[in-house]
Amino acid sequence: MIRDITIGQFFPGQSIIHKLDPRVKIALTFAFIVIIFFAKTYVGYGLIFAYIAFAVWLSQVPVRYILRGLKPLLFIIVLTFLINVFFTPGSKVLFRIWAFKFTQEGLNQGIFMTLRLVLLVVGTSLLTLTTSPISLTDGIERLLQPLQVIRFPAHELAMMMTIALRFIPTLLEETDKIMKAQMARGADFESGNLFQRAKALVPLLVPLFISAFRRADELAMAMESRCYRGGQNRTRMKILKTTRRDYLAVAVTLLLIAGILLDSYVL
């Protein structure tokens, strides 16, 4: 059924990675993404690979779930590899095909860029696979909170995400209902060229938009009647707490960062 769809790709579990404080997880994912771009040697990438493989193993998320995120990007990854291989200037020519030079530098660059993309996707997938949308929103809100002094709307942003998550299933269900109602009256959403199909969507989108606006209006009213007045003075039932495992995760990540920096810039 349509309401069974999940948003994001959360893989529920009880692993140590699942239980990490979402703030810590988000921050570490960022650190991970940045450090990917600092690595310059095969040893460096080996370290990063070991780190993420260890994290995946700890998370108990099946590897095929992790790799699923790569599938839609396969084309871009291959393209990036080829472009880097053939267009990186270099002197150590391995062989030539017609006008293209195939150099050692190009090969390295191609492999590194590919690894970066793959690691990037794997790292972020691991975050969304092990963190429920709610804790993700919570984590983002609290990480961004300090930015409120420069008037960054951290609370509003998180509230928007929560409401979007809450209403996506409702609106999908409604789309389904309207679609069936229009189909019963002979609407055809499946045949015809692109233009005809886009046109067929109009009788679907108009009622959907009207209903979405009505919902928004009613929801705003309901929130107001429940004393909602934005982020100020608001407390939360659940407080995020960092525990020993969070410090451990931070320590391991710091070690990785130190390793990469040493490897790429000192040795």
Binding site: R3, P133, I134, T162, I163, L165, R166, P169, T170, E173, R214, R215, E218, L219, M221, A222, M223, E224, S225, R226, C227, Y228, R229, N233, R234, T235, R236, M237, K238, I239
Partner: protein, 278 residues
């Protein structure tokens, strides 16, 4: 005793898109005592929802005064206290739940009140227990039935510890099972938690158990009294296009046929008694 809700010649006009004023309330004066269960019935467009929104300060009077527990709703400083005192449940269960998890939604109100986390936790657990939804604390709202969603909405209001609950056609979008669940919950709150209930409904059967029934028409109160008093006025109600409970209707017709049946029958059992006594 000071009534917990006081309306003094309340009038309200909406401003239409064209800038015209549409009168929705034309001078409503009404006192509701603490602990009372009041049902409001009336036609589409008779001003019931407009009245309900005044009790929660979602709307302010164009003229006249609304006092909630002695607080004037025009007083900006009292706004949040008024909204906490008089909670409101709306018709569409989907459009009043905010969070993606039931217990987070129930916590929404108390969080807005700025209560400490332990206190919120306690209130959320209590409120879910009162409406019988504690098993669903971790569920996502879109997996619940309409009646269950509406009970979650009620729990969300309860967690703010209100003294009044205003329900604007809370059962209109529910199936009979859901309607029954919600009605039982509302009655329980009134009887056992001492909460004042203002219940707007289109179902006459739901008004039968109220302490007082108020009939609205064109922004005015046209009839009020105990359910027995109100529903025995079958002719008046029919004139303004309202139904009466089915048994009352039956009694009315039997009487018209010359049978000696009292007109103020509200329940099936009473009808059975009356017929047996013939």
């Amino acid at each position: 005793m000071e009534p917990i809700i006081r309306l003094q010649d309340l009038r309200f006009e909406y401003l239409s898109f064209e800038g015209e004023e549409i009168a929705a309330l034309n001078g409503v004066t009404l006192d509701i005592q603490k602990g009372e269960f009041v049902a409001i019935i009336g036609h589409n467009g008779s001003g019931k929802s407009t009245l309900a929104k005044h009790l929660n300060a979602l709307l302010r009077p164009s003229s006249g005064v609304v006092w909630i527990k002695g607080m004037d709703t025009r007083d900006e400083d009292k706004l949040w206290e008024i909204r906490q005192t008089a909670g409101m449940v709306f018709q569409n269960p989907d459009n009043q739940l905010v969070a993606t998890v039931v217990e987070e939604d129930v916590a929404f109100g108390p969080e807005n009140l700025g209560l400490p986390p332990e206190e919120i936790r306690k209130r959320v657990d209590e409120a879910l227990k009162v409406v019988g939804m504690q098993e669903y604390a971790q569920a996502a709202p879109h997996y619940l039935s309409g009646g269950q969603k509406q009970r979650v909405a009620i729990a969300g209001i309860l967690a703010m510890k209100p003294e009044i609950i205003v329900l604007d056609e809370p059962t209109a979008m529910l199936d009979p099972v859901g309607r029954h669940e919600v009605m039982e919950t509302i009655k329980y709150l009134n009887k056992h938690e001492g909460i004042t209930v203002v219940h707007i409904t289109h179902y006459m059967e739901e008004a039968v158990d109220a302490d007082r029934v108020i009939v609205m028409e064109q922004g005015k109160i046209v009839l009020q009294g105990t359910p027995r008093q109100v529903f025995s006025q079958v002719k008046v109600l029919k004139e303004i296009g309202l139904d009466v409970p089915q048994v009352t209707e039956l009694a009315y017709r039997l009487k018209a046929e010359g049978l000696d049946i009292p007109l103020d029958v509200l329940k099936v059992e009473e009808m059975v008694d009356a017929i047996c006594r013939l």
